[in-house]
Structure formats: structure tokens, C-alpha cells
Subunit: 293 residues, 2 copies
């Protein structure tokens, strides 16, 4: 193990300082974390100044975080960690099942208190003030991924940024819960609503995540996407995002969340004065065998 | 590299997203950090909840930190990172030179604005109110580690916790700069002052570092120590700590900072009404070849 010239027992000493009364999973995680962090420091001969710069960045992330903003999460996102944890979660579910809808990260702008709206309603409560924005009609079925049976009373929750790149809680110019809504599927398992064709936007870059992006010579843009959480009694909840195939950032998402199966096509919609675009998107859920439903 | 069942190109994609205009050292550090963090997540099949618990702990550390407290640093300390970075720094200096005084971590309680005091003065400005505390006379020479030549006008800065386990900035009952002082060496390179025999104390455990210690079933105690920073024109500054050989926590320091060469013996002092103990400690500094002095 110790192919370096530093104290060969230091890391083992730190790990074995853990007592008897430690949760086994926590012990595994801390031992692995300590080993990786120490290897990182030794392999790079980390200096005191470099380590302290990392500490200050970590503290800064906490100081910027509040109920509306999670900067620690965003720091993880720009180094791909949230997307990787999501991939691990999906892979484990996939091995247990087959091929339900792929997952994607929750992101830092989810709100737990989004209201229900009726099918066919619009989530555009505040139109973009600069006249930009194309309206799209989005609809689809929630189905059991194996039997294809439509799922009645499933809930589809969606949220998206406006064309100025801001979610409603970041923007005093948007009505509360603008571009958010929960929809309950009808007897055919169908949901429908009007929304905006999503547009690309930069992640907030006035904090440590933005500083890291600049130092890494990377742009902060995310490709255009709509967030979706789908839930149904007796099925595993699904968190995902769908991406517009025409977006220029599809291959270089600043948080690495794009998967091929989540890329969708907006097509022309005719005869609807409310929307010139249409998107059909079906959601496939996996039964939750641990559930009683 | 990729002996796992997850997307084998994900980590390389994140690393290679860095642009052309990146400082080479920063590129090396970020590439290594991303690789270790991703390996940690994959090896342990980290769940979303576990990752999010880590994010919340990181944010919490930042929120507790201010001018008087650096909780991010303390989190690093309890997993041995500050001591490891210190060992790396000392090893590199040692390889370049020979065997100067060993270094130890700065710790979170250093204050940059500590006042000078005259040799022979006491740093005990507020005596422990419970009558505990033994007074010690500490003296020694600052010398060139190779030639043994005494260094005149070197500065020895010391700080220690009181017997209640608190540094003055943590304790409204202590006068400002209590148990701190800077001393300038005389024509024989000698410094001297009165201090307390140090006593063990717990690191603050009301935040994320304390939570980690509890979850790891570890105690928060540090063995009794005195912090020292020694500086002299033309020499490399030295940051270290000295430890009392009689301390019960010498082999299980909560921040892993003890080195054998830093363990000292307090001996009986006779004929001095001010102190019943004495400690002689010489500091060996290394010439700074990059300096003009």
C-alpha cells in the first residue's frame, strides 16, 4: 500500500482510532474517505497553503448556503459528483430491474412545496418580460416499465428556469411557483400542461463553484432542460431531467447530467393558439417491491 | 483503471472538460481530487442520501466559521489531514536540509496580532479562577540547526489554552491575549517566560467536527501542548507544538499532531517563588536559501 516516503502507518493510525461503537457502513465510508483524502495529499505533496485554500473554499460554500441556495451541492455538481452518485443509484436499480426511465440529478432548485395544477393548465404564470420564450404543450403517459400498463393517479412534478436563466426563487420578477407544477395522471395515465421550451442557462457563478469553474477554464452553462419527479403508489420515485436535442451545450453540460436516453425532440404543433411546439414524453416507473401498495 | 461496472469514461470526461488556460499545478490537483472523489463514490456505491449528508456537513462547517473559529479546518484536523500536510511539508524541508526542529500543525486558535512581551515576563495574565494550574518557567535558545550558532533577535511566539480547556478568544473570562506572547531572543539567542504547565482539553465538539468524532466513537481530547512559531531573518519560519510527556492523551491525540521529537519534560524548579516547574527547549531553524538576509 505505502509506496511513498511518508510515515507508512499514519493513515492506518487515523482509521484505527475509530472506536468499537461505530455503524459499520459509516466506518466503511470514513475509512475509505480518509484513505482517499490522505492519498490525494501525499500523491500531490499538498502544501499548507493549498490545503488552506481548500478549507476556505469549503467554508465559503457553507456561508453562501441558505434555504434557497445550496452552494456545497453546486461545488459537488461542477466536479460531477452528484451526476456520478445518480449514475450509481440508477445502475443499482437497473441491475435489480431492467430499463426504466433513466435518472438525473435533482439539482439545487427543487422546492418541496410546489402546488398541484389541473391537466392542460400552463405553468407559465409570469411570461418572460423581454418577449422571448416559445410555448410548448407537453404531454405523455406514466406507465409500468415492464407491463406498459398506464398508471392512474401518478404525480408528475416539473420545474424549469425562465428564459433569463433564473428559477422563480432566484428572481423577484417571477410570481411564486412560476414554471413549476404538480400534475396528477388521468384514467389513461396521462398528464399534460403548457410550459416554455427550455433555454440554456449558467449555474450561479458568484461563489466557490463559479470560482472553481473559472480556475478550470470551463463555462458555467447547463443545456436546456426540464426537471421531472414522477411518483406513484407502489412504484419507486423517479427524479430526472429531459434535454432539448437542439441545445448547443448538450455535450458539455457544466454538471455532467446529460444521458442519451433523456434527450427529447420538440416538434411543431398545429391548430393550437396557445402553443407552436409540442413534446410527448412517457415516464416508465419500476414497481417498488418493498412497498405494500 | 476502470475495474468497476459504471460508465468507464465519466471521470475522464469531467477531468478533460478543463480548458487550456488552467494553471498546471491547479490542473494536477483538480484532476487528482476528481479521480479520488469519484473512486470513493464508486468503491462505496455512495447513495444520494449519504452524499447529501456530506454536503450538509460541509455547509454546516462553513456556517459555524468566523474570524474566531475555523470549523472547516477542524473537520480536516480530526481526519488527520492538517497533520499529514504538515508531515509532507516537514519531510520535504528535511530532505532538502537535515534535522531541524520538527513541525506541527498551526491549529485553529492562532492569532496574528499577539503582542510582544519582555523576556522573563509571564503570559499568565488571567490566572485560572478555580485555583488549578501549575506555573512553569520556559526558556531556551534559538539556534541555526547546522552550525548551532545562537540566533539573536529571533522571535518566539507562543500560545496555550487555560486549564479550563479554552483559549482566550473562546472565553470571556480571560483577558485578551492571555496565555499568548511574542519574545525576542537576546544576545545569546535566549528567550524566557512564565506560562502554565499545559493541560489536555477537548477540541470544540458542538459542530460537524464533534459530530464526526461522536459517529467515529472517538474522544475529542488533545494532549497538553504549547504552540510555538519561531521566526528569524534569513531562516525558514517554524510552526510547531511541544507536548508534555506525562499526558494521558499522548498516544491518541484527536488531531494526530504528536511526534516523538516534540515530547518534552517539565522538571522541578527550585528557589523561584514564581514557578515550581521548569522547561528548557531549544529551537533549531533552517537557513532560507531563497532569502536575501
Amino acid at each position: 500500500m505505502a509506496s511513498h516516503r511518508f510515515n507508512p502507518t499514519f493513515t492506518d493510525n487515523v482509521i484505527s482510532a475509530m472506536g468499537k461503537n461505530v455503524n459499520p457502513r459509516f466506518r466503511q465510508l470514513m475509512a475509505s474517505l480518509i484513505r482517499h483524502v490522505h492519498d490525494f495529499a501525499r500523491e500531490n505533496e499538498l502544501t499548507v497553503d493549498e490545503w488552506m485554500a481548500g478549507v476556505q473554499l469549503m467554508n465559503w460554500a457553507g456561508q453562501m448556503s441558505d434555504a434557497k441556495r445550496n452552494e456545497g451541492q453546486l461545488v459537488c455538481d461542477v466536479i460531477g459528483l452528484e451526476s456520478l452518485v445518480d449514475e450509481i443509484t440508477f445502475k443499482l436499480a437497473d441491475e435489480a430491474a431492467d430499463a426504466p426511465t433513466a435518472t438525473a440529478i435533482l439539482g439545487p432548485f427543487f422546492r418541496p412545496d410546489t402546488p398541484f395544477r389541473a391537466n392542460g393548465e400552463t405553468i407559465v404564470r409570469t411570461a418572460p418580460t423581454d418577449g422571448s420564450g416559445e410555448t410548448a404543450y407537453m404531454t405523455g403517459q406514466v406507465v409500468d416499465f415492464a407491463t406498459k400498463k398506464p398508471l392512474v393517479d401518478a404525480v408528475v412534478e416539473v420545474w424549469q428556469a425562465s428564459t433569463n436563466g433564473l428559477y422563480e426563487q432566484q428572481d423577484p420578477g417571477q410570481e411564486e411557483f412560476n414554471l413549476r407544477g404538480k400534475f396528477r395522471t388521468d384514467v389513461e395515465g396521462r398528464y399534460s400542461f403548457y410550459c416554455l421550451r427550455p433555454t440554456p442557462y449558467p449555474v450561479p457563478d458568484d461563489g466557490p463553484a463559479g470560482k472553481l469553474l473559472k480556475l478550470m477554464d470551463r463555462h458555467p452553462f447547463r443545456p436546456a432542460h426540464i426537471h421531472i419527479i414522477a411518483t406513484c403508489d407502489g412504484y419507486k420515485p423517479l427524479t430526472t431531467q429531459i434535454f432539448d436535442r437542439k441545445d448547443p451545450y448538450l455535450t458539455n453540460d457544466s454538471v455532467f447530467a446529460v444521458k442519451d436516453s433523456l434527450i427529447v425532440d420538440f416538434v411543431e404543433r398545429k391548430g393550437d393558439p396557445q402553443a407552436g411546439l409540442e413534446l410527448t414524453y412517457d415516464v416508465k416507473l419500476v414497481p417498488d417491491k418493498t412497498s405494500k401498495a
